[in-house]
């Protein structure tokens, strides 16, 4: 169990900067997800932690050792690849045993460790099979076994669930959480799937174009997104945005935009952000669950209704802005219905228009 310290790390491939001045500290025993759209540099970051790529600048430490110049095998890390990367010509036993062989572990000890890992992951029956004779979920477990058996300080997981079908993915998610609780090692989990990041991690680092957007608990990332990108990226369906302006008359803040005028609750924005009598261009964001459809509020038109069973996703035309709402399935709506919308005043998010930085307190 070790902490991982990433200190002003850069990675450039020619003219492309894949990781841009990244600094992060993962606590010992923490489960951290690195989340972002494809091409955001998350896999590059993981490969740098593993030693498969060299940082262009900056320092990476695992425990209290700077590992920049250490080869992958000497870093006390284990990695699970998106493709599992099982050695096709070796049996399951051969695969799990391989890292031990490379560490010159005595044969008897190897057998015990392979048995323990196989037991933990329910692979005992499969030890003599070749990887291609296994299902996706079983291959996944073998890849985990190969990582587990060495008892590394840090686990690196590169989208390990993305090749599984939805049902198995949910199952493996739960298994991974249990596994982490049992072994308590530092785990760095790279994913583009926010659901995985939200459900499994202690903290989430959101990356975009190689730049850190926010590093916080899932709850905070959801409730207090650091900027418009994080706000829009986290949450399904994603947050709604309406561009407009806030003006301050006699200390009363009012948002106007998209045909909507609403007063901004006191304490939501920092005092003195907008001088008296001044205006400020903003984007207002609100989650689909933070609007109500009822008999009061602004006029709107239902354009699409998508029932999912336990809830209904409704696309609503609000004066030309498309707004997504999440409503109770008991509310019977159909396309073309005229409705009235209300916003939850304490759940409004405001972002600056230039860099999309969060303005809320």
């Amino acid at each position: 169990m070790s902490e991982v310290h990433i200190n002003h790390v850069y990675k450039r491939f020619g003219d492309v900067t894949a990781v841009d001045d990244l600094s992060l500290l993962f606590k010992a025993g923490e489960f951290v997800s690195v989340l972002g759209p494809s091409g955001c540099g998350k896999t590059t970051l993981l490969r740098m932690l593993a030693g498969l790529e060299t940082p262009s600048a900056g320092e990476i430490s695992i425990g209290d050792k700077v590992v920049n110049d250490l080869p992958p095998g000497s870093r006390d890390i284990a990695m699970v690849f998106q493709t599992y990367a099982l050695y096709p010509h070796m049996t399951v036993r051969g695969n799990i045993e391989y890292p031990l062989k490379k560490r010159r572990t005595p044969k008897a000890e190897r057998a015990v460790k392979v048995k323990d890992a196989a037991e933990l992951l329910q692979l005992e029956e499969l030890l003599d099979r070749k990887p291609r004779q296994l299902s996706g979920g079983q291959q996944q477990r073998v890849a985990l076994g190969r990582a587990l058996v060495r008892d590394p300080a840090v686990f690196l997981l590169d989208e390990p669930l993305s090749n599984l079908d939805a049902k198995l993915r949910a199952h493996m998610r739960a298994e991974l959480i249990q596994l982490h609780e049992r072994i308590g090692k530092t785990m760095v989990y790279v994913t583009h799937d926010q659901l995985e990041a939200m459900t499994m991690s202690h903290r989430i680092a959101v990356l975009r174009f190689g730049v850190l957007q926010q590093f916080a608990s899932p709850d905070e990332v959801y409730r207090k997104p650091a900027n418009e990108f994080v706000a829009g990226f986290i949450g399904t369906p994603s947050m709604n945005f309406i561009a407009g302006e806030i003006d301050n008359s006699d200390g009363k803040l009012t948002f106007c935009g998209g045909g909507v005028a609403l007063s901004v609750q006191a304490g939501l924005l920092p005092d003195g952000l907008i001088a008296d009598g001044d205006k400020f261009l903003v984007k207002m964001g609100f989650r689909p669950e933070d609007i109500f459809i009822g008999d009061q509020g602004d006029d709107a038109l239902v354009s699409v209704v998508e029932p999912t069973g336990h809830e209904v996703i409704v696309l609503i035309d609000l004066n030309g802005n498309e707004v997504v709402a999440r409503v109770n399935p008991d509310v019977r709506l159909k396309a073309g219905d005229k409705v009235k919308l209300r916003f939850r005043p304490d759940k409004l998010h405001f972002f600056g228009t230039k860099e999309g930085i969060r303005l809320n307190v």
Partner: protein, 278 residues
């Protein structure tokens, strides 16, 4: 089965067997001639099956000519050329695929370019080179010559083969604690095995059958391979020893046929390179 379908099948089989017959006939004739008695050789009409089977031509070949020396030379030549080519080509292909250094793609193209050069134009320069470094008239000179023109093709063949091996496998081995060389030996080589075998077969056939370089670079019986050796003892301006020649041809074909029988499944896998998923 309808009549139309049936007749189509018969026609297809007829066609297939005629093609096989066309290809196999010279080989069968070679085998038959090599076991015919000398007296039956020039009979008209020719006999398809010999009236009497004799191995005297084989014995004469082994007893009276340096055939076995040539055979030994050819075996040494084929095996050592293959070994040199395979070692350089696998490591080279791996380097061209997995390492990043300036000019890597250029280098790969340059290798292909050398393959485009007809090997005939290299004979005279290579001949002088061999004299200059004192290797003329030796088997080593032929190993070097054969390596120069089979290596580019071998390198490209293996490169396309090894490109199908996922990068992650090597990365996983490195993370698991292997050195680069260990990862290459433990993980990459077993995956590349079908490709290596088909490349090896290709090189071996080339070294076994090569004639022109052997003729120019080697002029002593001690170092002659089968191709030029058999030619020099059995074919003269005045006479061709047909029965001995056919016996020699049969014996020359046997090693390749044996190799093919054992390695055929790898060879066909080799032709489907890239389509094979690990």
């Amino acid at each position: 089965m309808s009549l139309k379908k049936k007749s189509r099948r018969v026609l297809f089989n007829l066609f297939a067997w005629s093609v096989i017959g066309l290809i196999a006939f010279p080989l069968i004739w070679m085998l038959v001639t090599s076991i015919k008695p000398q007296s039956e050789l020039f009979l008209i009409p020719p006999t398809l099956l010999p009236s009497e089977i004799t191995f005297e031509h084989y014995w004469r070949l082994i007893d009276e000519t340096p055939f076995l020396t040539y055979m030994k030379n050819s075996i040494i030549l084929a095996l050592s050329t293959t070994a040199v080519v395979i070692v350089i080509a696998t490591l080279g292909a791996h380097s061209l695929l997995r390492f990043s250094y300036p000019g890597r793609e250029r280098l790969a193209q340059l290798v292909l370019f050398t393959y485009l050069l007809p090997s005939v134009v290299l004979i005279i320069p290579l001949y002088f080179l061999m004299i200059w470094i004192g290797l003329a008239n030796s088997l080593i000179s032929l190993v070097i010559a054969y390596t120069t023109f089979s290596l580019p093709y071998a390198l490209w063949l293996l490169r396309s083969f090894m490109a199908a091996i996922p990068d992650d496998l090597e990365s996983a081995a490195l993370v698991d604690g292997a050195t680069r060389m260990e990862a290459f030996i433990d993980v990459i080589l077993p995956q590349a095995l079908p490709g290596i075998i088909s490349t090896a077969l290709f090189t071996m056939i080339l070294a076994w059958n090569e004639y022109l370089y052997a003729l120019v670079l080697v002029n002593t019986d001690e170092s002659r391979p089968l191709t030029t050796g058999v030619m020099s003892i059995l074919i003269t301006s005045f006479n061709i020893e047909w029965s001995l020649l056919m016996a020699a041809s049969v014996m020359m074909s046997v090693p390749l046929i044996v190799a093919f029988v054992f390695l055929q499944k790898y060879l066909t896998r080799g032709f489907g390179a890239g389509a094979v998923k690990g």
